[in-house]
């Protein structure tokens, strides 16, 4: 098939997909699960349990207090030991429920999900649920976007009056180097992804769904293109390998040719975008009433002894997942949750796996140290590679000098923090650091009503 792509900017970082051929393995249950109450965009969930409570897998332990929030379910069975704080990907301690794990009993209310191994579930292709029922099931199961941003999925499928949806776009791109979780999901559970896509398509009420897959996953492309023939309303489209193809605005542009205007959402050009993992989670939520309690993530890095893709229960401390991959290497310098371009570096391995953790990347000391910052030589490479068509050299300098209104007028808030500029800069300037600072200050000023 002809490959599509987006036009403005983009880079080609080394792919390093060292785990692309490793089949998914289950990670053993932790001894103690650390369930964070804020694993999504929006308000943290409200605690529903207290110390000493017995819980089963799927018991509601955190309830969404409003629309922009998500339910949290216990990923393990056992007893609530403590309500404590743990450092999460934000770098700050957040409220978490500590559960001592006993066995693996599933709450009967969550259906037959607990009976089957993840790779032996019978496929349920018959979709009975209506759009409203699907949205309710997504909300009940606490399904959030699994591409990293963790936006509550049911909210995305509530199309406000005045807006129309035309396309459902499923993101099978995984443009971050090193990460292969979505890749393996498509290779090993393609039908669950496809039925999930059908479910989401029905919830959105559109005729067409397109699954975008980057060409560096030829086996996934082939398998999905083959299986999709049974689903007349879904199309698989190959994409040129270019970062950040998986960013939703660039994906919408490549697949439909439409550009989401500044400050607006994909829905404003008739599209809704979700990750392949979210599509599978939707399938499980609707067909099996299975709540969001586990996910596939990639543990990788050139120094890691046993890199691979693991199915991990949420709440498992990352130290345990790293143990499964051969333990923390001697020369480990940086631990990143996510990929190398947009992932968050963490200072401790106590951090638990959350709904948005797509990977654990370990860089060794040589790879981890940033090169020294040198003067800007005005080579304009940052301008050339910015996928949003911005001027990073200028915006970061304005942010550094606290000239936030000027930076905002020049397009600072359109920055998606993809990191292409910092990656390309021959002077190794810390562009994204200052862009992010500038964006935070603009938002803070907006809240103050300036």
């Amino acid at each position: 098939m002809t490959l599509k792509t987006f036009k403005i900017g983009g880079i080609h970082p080394p792919e390093n997909k060292i785990t692309e051929d490793r089949a998914v393995q289950s990670c053993p249950l932790p001894k103690q699960a650390v369930v964070l109450l804020a694993q999504h965009i929006g308000a943290p969930a409200e605690i529903q349990v207290k110390v000493g409570d017995e819980v089963k897998v799927g018991t509601l332990v955190g309830k969404a207090p409003g629309l922009i929030s998500a339910n949290i379910h216990s990923p393990v069975s056992g007893k609530v030991k403590k309500i404590d704080t743990r450092t999460d990907a934000s770098g700050y301690p957040k409220t978490a429920i500590l559960i001592d794990v006993v066995g693996d009993d599933w709450d009967p209310e969550v259906g037959e999900a607990g009976q089957y191994e993840w790779n032996k579930r019978p496929l349920k292709t018959d979709i009975q649920a209506t759009g409203d029922e699907i949205r309710a099931a997504l909300a009940a199961a606490g399904v959030v976007g699994m591409g990293g941003a963790a936006f509550p999925t049911n909210v995305k499928y509530m199309v406000p009056p005045g807006k129309t949806a035309e396309y459902l776009i499923i993101n099978g791109v995984e443009c971050e180097p090193y990460l292969t979780a979505d890749h393996r999901l498509m290779v090993e559970l393609p039908d669950e992804v496809l039925v999930g896509t059908e479910i989401l398509r029905r919830a959105l009420g559109v005729e067409k769904a397109i699954i975008g897959i980057e060409a560096n996953k030829p086996d996934a492309l082939r398998i999905m293109a083959e299986r999709v023939k049974s689903y007349p309303n879904i199309q698989v489209q190959g994409l040129v390998v270019k970062y950040p193809q998986g960013a939703e605005k660039q994906l919408v542009k490549a697949l439909t040719g439409r550009e989401v205007p500044s400050g607006m959402l994909p829905l404003d050009v008739g599209c809704v975008v979700n990750n392949v993992g979210t599509a599978q989670a939707a399938y499980l939520a609707v067909q099996y009433k299975r709540p969001f309690v586990d996910r596939i993530l990639t543990v990788t890095g050139t120094s890691v002894k046993n890199p691979g893709n693991y199915l991990v229960r949420l709440g498992t401390p990352i130290s345990q997942v790293i143990e499964l991959a051969g333990g923390l290497p001697e020369d480990a310098g940086k631990i990143i949750l996510g990929g190398p371009m947009m992932g968050k570096a963490v200072s401790t391995t106590d951090t638990p796996v959350g709904k948005g953790t797509s990977g654990i990347l370990i860089l060794n000391k040589a790879q981890a140290k940033r090169p020294a910052v040198e003067p800007c030589i005005r080579c304009s490479k940052c301008v050339t590679v910015c996928p949003m068509g911005l001027e990073p050299y200028l915006l970061s300098e304005m942010a550094k000098q606290n000239r936030f209104e000027e930076a905002e007028a020049r397009g600072l808030m359109d920055c998606v923090e993809c990191g292409s500029c910092s990656f390309t800069c021959p002077s190794h300037r810390d562009l994204v650091d200052w862009l992010r600072y500038g964006k935070a200050r603009v938002l803070a000023n907006r809240r103050k009503g300036k």
Binding site: T164, V260, P340, A345, S347, I377, V383, G389, D414
Partner: protein, 340 residues
């Protein structure tokens, strides 16, 4: 005090490129032109190039370490590039003391006075050349003939003994004659200009060698195509209009492109990153106008060659070009009508 894990903001991987790599590529691209210049002008050319490069590097090192008390930056290679470019822009017969003065001025005032690498609004090599042209007009417009000058440094009389007019000098002279171009004896042909056997600055004689280097930089994505194409295009447009009107007195645009410093200017001077705009459209405006100005100075100005001044003038406009010309932004089109 490094303990535990390193925590920093994304991205956590960086390109392998660096400033020294970029400068290294530019130096590699200049090698064909330098070799052509050394072949044409021999030891005197080599001496001038060595002095410009050496003095530029020394000046930058001295100012950075002793006057500004900062760690030396000469490893990034930018002073070497300036030195080589300056050498390529001046005649091989320039007295060495003038060469030293020009090099110190180029780096000292053209670059360090503004804050060092990345801060200079003007192309430092051209600043040096402009200083030398204004201060030493006679020596800077005496052009040794290639070949004959090769070993002339060892002969009595030195390289002055074999001076000659440049192609552009002849073109300027032709404008004033009633017979026009045919009234001037010994004008080089297009081929001679392309291959490089005519008098001129050390680096500008062989358009072929310059083109080879320029294409190398283009392929390696060190420079972008807008600057050289629009510069030569602007020059061709301006001279072309006059040539169409009066082909007897005015040389054709291709001649103008091949003669003088236009090729060197197009591929190495107008593409200098620090002093050119940051957007493709900005570079088109900058280089195109510089090309037009070059043509204007050549045809109507007091000098037969206008590249240096044209580029310097446009350097002054780069900040305002960058202020008003923006790159193509994502999502600028009116949003697609989403029916309803």
């Amino acid at each position: 005090m490094s303990t535990g894990m390193i925590v920093s903001l994304s991205p956590h991987v960086r390109t392998k490129a660096s400033i020294s790599m970029v400068m290294g590529m530019v130096i590699v691209a200049m090698i064909p032109a330098i070799l052509a210049g050394l072949w044409a002008f021999g030891l005197s050319g080599a001496l001038v190039m060595a002095v410009t490069t050496g003095v530029c590097v020394l000046t930058e090192w001295f100012i950075t370490v002793y006057m500004l008390k900062q760690p030396s930056r000469i490893n990034d290679g930018s002073a070497i590039v300036t030195g080589l470019l300056l050498g390529m822009n001046i005649p091989a017969s320039t007295p060495i003391w003038q060469v030293i003065a020009g090099s110190i001025f180029a780096i000292g005032l053209g670059k360090m006075a503004f804050g060092g690498l990345g801060h200079n609004p003007f192309n430092p090599a051209l600043v040096g050349r402009a200083f030398m042209l204004t201060s030493f007009p006679a020596d800077m417009t005496t052009w040794p003939a290639p070949g004959a000058a090769r070993w002339s440094i060892l002969q009595t009389g030195g390289v002055d003994a074999v001076a000659g007019p440049t192609a552009l000098g002849m073109v300027a002279e032709a404008q004033g004659l009633p017979d026009g171009l045919s009234g001037v004896a010994g004008m080089p042909t297009h081929w001679e200009l392309f291959l490089g056997s005519i008098p001129g600055s050390i680096g500008e004689v062989s358009a072929l060698a310059i083109l080879a280097g320029g294409l190398f930089l283009l392929v390696r994505k060190i420079i972008s195509w807008e600057s050289p194409v629009f510069f030569l295009g602007g020059l061709a447009l301006f001279t072309g209009v006059f040539w169409i009107v009066d082909p007897v007195r005015y040389a054709d645009p291709l001649y103008h492109i091949l003669a003088g410093g236009a090729m060197l200017g197009a591929w190495f001077m107008v593409t200098d990153m620090v002093s050119s705009p940051m957007t493709p459209r900005g570079r088109m405006i900058f280089a195109g106008t510089a090309g037009l100005l070059t043509g204007a100075i050549r045809l109507f100005g007091a000098f037969p060659e206008g590249t240096s001044y044209a580029i310097l003038i446009m350097n002054a406009f780069v900040p305002i070009i960058d202020r008003y010309v923006r790159p193509k932004k994502f999502g600028q089109k009116k949003k697609e009508a989403s029916r309803g």
